[in-house]
């Protein structure tokens, strides 16, 4: 069985019979109607899409901060000459909420 020749014959058959370029009746009008149906710019949808895209990065940042916070709690107190345990979560919260809470000298 000459498979290579059979393949060439079949490919030649495909080349010899190009598909029709017939366009269905009133196709252009249907396309233009579809284009007019579509809203030009939906700002609410764009904003919602952006928010959904931000979910994953925000979750990653939250997890990383959580991990850093736990790692900070477990650090060696001997490395601090003042004898205070460095607490990342306390520092982070103080910095992030500095403007929100009441004025507190201990924050800085």
């Amino acid at each position: 069985m000459k498979l290579e020749l059979l393949m060439q014959k079949l490919l030649a058959a495909a080349r010899a019979n190009p598909p029709a370029d017939r366009v269905p009746y009133k196709f252009e009008q249907r396309i233009m109607a579809r284009l007019k149906e579509q809203p030009a710019l939906d700002l609410a949808a764009l904003w919602a899409r952006a928010l959904w895209r931000a979910v994953a990065p925000c979750a990653v940042v939250a997890v990383l901060i959580g991990l850093l916070s736990f790692a900070g709690n477990g650090s060696n107190p001997a490395s601090n000459p003042a004898g205070e345990t460095p607490d990342f979560s306390q520092h982070f919260e103080s910095v992030m909420l500095a403007d929100v809470g009441e004025p507190n000298e201990d924050v800085w």
């Binding site: 014959k9 058959a13 019979n17 370029d21």
Partner: protein, 191 residues
């Protein structure tokens, strides 16, 4: 006087959506011919072409104008057809048991006298369509563009967005896939 593609595109980008219609009229026959290479049902073909035009309209601002509009449109068309093939690959049939009588006769004629089997026969056309439907999406796309439409590897790379080495690798695998199918066909029909 008829406007050029670039003039119509500029008008559409300025907000005159109606100027898109002459482009749809001009290039739809080409798009239908392309879509008919990858889909069989007329409803699927129309869906593909409609998707190409909707994409073209929404992405028109990304058309830079350094190549003809037709080339840009054909890239969209080929990629849409490829997406269609990937979305419908589960529908691929996996046997040659239901060959029609003219198809079987054509194959028998080929076995008896390979040179006399006509390439212009309707049965050969049906047989090759059946064969192409059983190829994987990348194999079907590359065989169609390279062997049937007679395009160069570089052109295929531009149309598909694949690299030149990837086109070559996929072409090699596609020919192997097609030969494997033909070998199975030969085995099933006891040729």
């Amino acid at each position: 006087m008829e406007r050029s593609d670039a003039e119509y595109i500029a008008l559409v980008l300025k907000g005159d959506a109606a100027s898109f219609e002459p482009l749809v009229q001009k290039y739809s026959p080409r798009l239908f011919a392309t879509a008919r290479r990858y889909a069989r049902r007329e409803s699927e073909i129309e869906d593909i072409v409609q998707e190409v035009w909707l994409k073209a309209f929404h992405k028109l601002s990304s058309f830079r104008g350094d190549a003809p509009f037709e080339h840009w449109l054909m890239r969209l068309a080929v990629r849409t057809c490829y997406d269609f093939l990937r979305g419908h690959q589960r529908n691929r049939e996996a046997n040659f048991t239901d060959l029609t009588e003219p198809e079987s006769d054509w194959l028998e004629q080929f076995v008896a006298q390979p040179e006399s089997a006509g390439e212009d026969a309707a049965a050969a056309k049906q047989l090759v369509a059946r064969l192409l439907e059983q190829l994987s999406p990348p194999a079907r796309l590359v065989i169609t563009l390279l062997e049937i439409e007679d395009r160069s590897v570089k052109e295929i790379a531009q149309l598909t967005g694949w690299s030149v080495p990837l086109v070559k690798v996929r072409a090699f695998r596609a020919r192997a896939e097609m030969k494997k199918l033909l070998a199975r066909l030969a085995q099933e029909k006891y040729l």
